[in-house]
């Protein structure tokens, strides 16, 4: 994500007055690798429960994805050949393998960027720790396509990710071997090595489609006739104009002692429209596909403002419509992640409840709009250190 200097300056100015949060991290339900129905923490949002689901990119999107080369290619902007050699050694790559990588990949160095073409055997041979270190560095640069935006295996279980597919166990084992830890989850960045095992394009496509599976969660509110509906209204109705939720709840609980309301019904229309979907082609007609800022800043807008993909306009929009807030955070709050050390805004999402957020992770067509646990999202955006989070609240007009 590129941010012009003006935008950076404006955001730094904006966030200087924002509140930094120490987010509560609750491992409940994260990284279990199991399907289950989980109970949320108590709070003003009511009695929440959730379960995990997987979203898979539709064929219309898969048909557009450029099948990756079967060769591995590592970009290292700003590093000389000598620095790279030292980096790989420090990462624990054996001297022999470093030599093979440099000997066989003809390192290319131009404009302060080095590009390596490591042989498959050397990539496969990386120890888990070396893989984590090398890929963490590769992840800094967009040119490293699947390292910059790896396939996340949030549950940590590769086998769960492939549940219901017909891939040979050897393929699943290979993905497991090449996956690496990011926080409490796993990531996978080497599809080029796996598709090399297939004999035809159809199988390659099927594999890539399976890898687009993204874990989200279905969030539900449990209510009954004794529930404090006015209390729920004050939490969930912020900025929401579509309906009054009290009669909705009251009528839903008539003649029953337990009603499960999907939280999608409590989201503003646009957020509900896109939740659990992948972007459509029409969303990019005006020049840019939606990213995290588009998704979060349009959360309350009935008609999405496509100009919010423009970083300058997004920053101005925040300045005009939001104010910094402190804990406790509430439904609809805007969370902006800043890169540690640079304060570069790298992501934004919207707080829903109980540390669950509405997010779109990147501009990619294979990135859906979804609900995630905030702790999982922070891990996703952690390269070397967890991002700083600034929180803003939309001013009601």
């Amino acid at each position: 994500m590129k941010f012009p200097i003006i935008f950076l300056a404006l955001l730094v100015l904006l966030f200087a007055s924002g509140q930094t949060q120490e987010l509560h991290r609750n491992s409940n339900g994260s990284g279990t690798g199991q399907f289950g129905l989980y109970k949320g923490s108590p709070g003003p949002w009511g009695n929440l429960q959730y379960f995990y689901t997987y979203l898979e990119a539709p064929s219309r999107i898969m048909d557009l994805i450029n099948t990756p080369s079967r060769e591995t290619k590592w970009h290292f902007p700003g590093k000389s050949i000598e620095e790279l050699r030292a980096f790989l050694s420090d990462a624990g790559v054996s001297t022999e393998d470093v030599e093979i990588i440099f000997k066989n990949s003809l390192p290319f160095h131009e404009d302060k960027e080095s590009i390596l073409y490591p042989p498959a055997d050397q990539v496969m041979a990386l120890s888990p720790k070396s893989r984590e270190m090398v890929y963490r560095e590769l992840r800094r640069w967009p040119a490293n396509r699947f390292y910059y935006t790896p396939f996340m295996i949030e549950s940590g279980s590769v086998k769960e990710r492939f549940e219901g597919t017909t891939f040979h166990p050897a393929i699943i084992d290979l993905v497991e071997k090449l996956s690496y830890r990011i926080g409490s989850g796993n990531a996978f960045s080497d599809p080029q090595l796996v598709i090399g095992q297939f004999n035809d394009d159809v199988a390659e496509r099927a594999f890539l489609k399976a890898m687009t599976r993204t874990r989200s969660l279905i969030l539900m509110l449990q209510i009954d006739s004794k529930t404090d509906f006015e209390g729920l209204k004050s939490y969930w109705s912020k900025g929401y104009k579509g309906k009054d939720i009290v009669p909705f709840f009251e009528s839903a609980t008539l003649n029953t002692n337990n009603r499960i309301i999907d939280v999608a019904h409590l989201l503003p229309p646009t957020a509900r429209k896109y939740l659990y979907t992948f972007p459509t082609f029409s969303m990019g007609v005006e020049g840019a596909y939606p990213d995290s800022f588009w998704a979060s800043l349009n959360f309350f807008n009935y008609w999405p403002d496509d100009e919010l993909t423009d970083p300058d306009k997004a920053a101005q929009y925040i300045q005009n419509n939001y104010k910094p807030v402190a804990e406790p955070y509430a439904f609809g709050d805007l969370l902006v992640f800043l890169e540690p050390g640079t304060d570069r805004p790298i992501h934004s999402c919207v707080y829903i409840a109980d540390n669950i957020v509405y997010t779109k992770n990147g501009r990619s067509l294979r990135s859906p709009f979804l609900l995630m646990k905030l702790e999982d999202l922070l891990i996703f955006h952690t390269a070397t250190a967890s991002p700083e989070v600034k929180v803003w609240r939309r001013e009601v007009r």
């Binding site: 997987y54 979203l55 509900r272 429209k273």
Partner: protein, 412 residues
Amino acid sequence: MKNLINAAFGVVVFTLSTLSEKGVAQLIIVDEPSSPAPQTETNTDSVISGEWGTLQYYPILLEPSDYYISKSSDYATRNEPTVWQFDSDQVEDVLEKLAQAGLDSKLVAELTGDKYLSKDPVSGRYEIRPPDHAILNMVTEQRARLYPQLLPQTTANPFFTPFYLPVEGVGSNLSIAPGIPVEQIDLINALSYPMNDAMAFSDIRLVLSRSKNDAERARTLKTLARQRSLGVGLKVLESHDLKALASYWGAGGRNREILPILESVVGTPGVETLDIVHLLPPNPRKQLSTFPSPSEFMRHSETPDCFSTAFSFFGDDPPDRLFDSVSYVFAERYEEASYPLQFGDLIEIKLQRDERTIHVCNHIAGNLVFTKNGISLARPWIISTLEEVTARYQRRGDIKISYHRLKPEYQK
């Protein structure tokens, strides 16, 4: 906010008690002991089954939000007196209309005296500001004859755009407490009058003048604006053919990938129902159970109606083109639907007497439809039974129903 609600509600085909395919013993909850109660069934929900799976549904009442009420013309004019404006600058015409409405001569004389009769300085038309006793003493037939003639023809005039109530009266929408005194409910029912085989109500300013405060006035308006919808869930059990369900709800690729989410439900102990909000295409999902807000539709020259809603079921935002010409869109994009009906098919309701199309909605499954019953901003997008929708439109005369499907070239 003008409400038109029919009496009949959904027909219970059979109850959930016959459907307990997934035993309680299977409801294993991860994360004991702080586990939530598993999704439980109630024996009051209605159930329909077919190639779409098993849908269970229950009635819900929708009210517009506080914001919506605060922006409504009825709330803005809550402290203004009732005004009857006549289409004439001649007092004789006023006398004649009042007499034709059946008001007795003594009351006509009182209303046309200097105390209540005046001329609108802008339009030059005669106006009467009737006292409460005059309104209260009118009988239903007098209201039905007089009120439809009163000007101006603007949405802010409650005589031109009255509230439409259920034929049984506003009380039929009171399964949950309205939050206003019963005297107010009785007054609304007493002041209602028949219009097009429905019940209309126009004396909102009189009723609001008797409210204790603005909070009660807002509650009165919200109660009058209540609309019925359905909460619907798809039961997804291990014994079901998930690919067949995904095929139905996927609508030949026009909807999102359904199978992974169905697999998640089946794979999660304690979960066996998926809210239909996850099965609808993006546009109806955005609209479901919401009232269109005036400020949000400033972008369009017209507010959304049944046509723009139904035509854009599988589309993105309703294209402006759909507001242009209904007949063109119908002829260009749709063809007669063959049975069985498919998810999203168009249901057209026509008047038999002149073949005029008076409503369209989308088939969901069984007898459930996705519909917006009229152009008014007071009509939310809802899920309803086809029986309830047709009952509403049968008030205009005998109807006939036909089914349509997007032509293949428009299904992509």
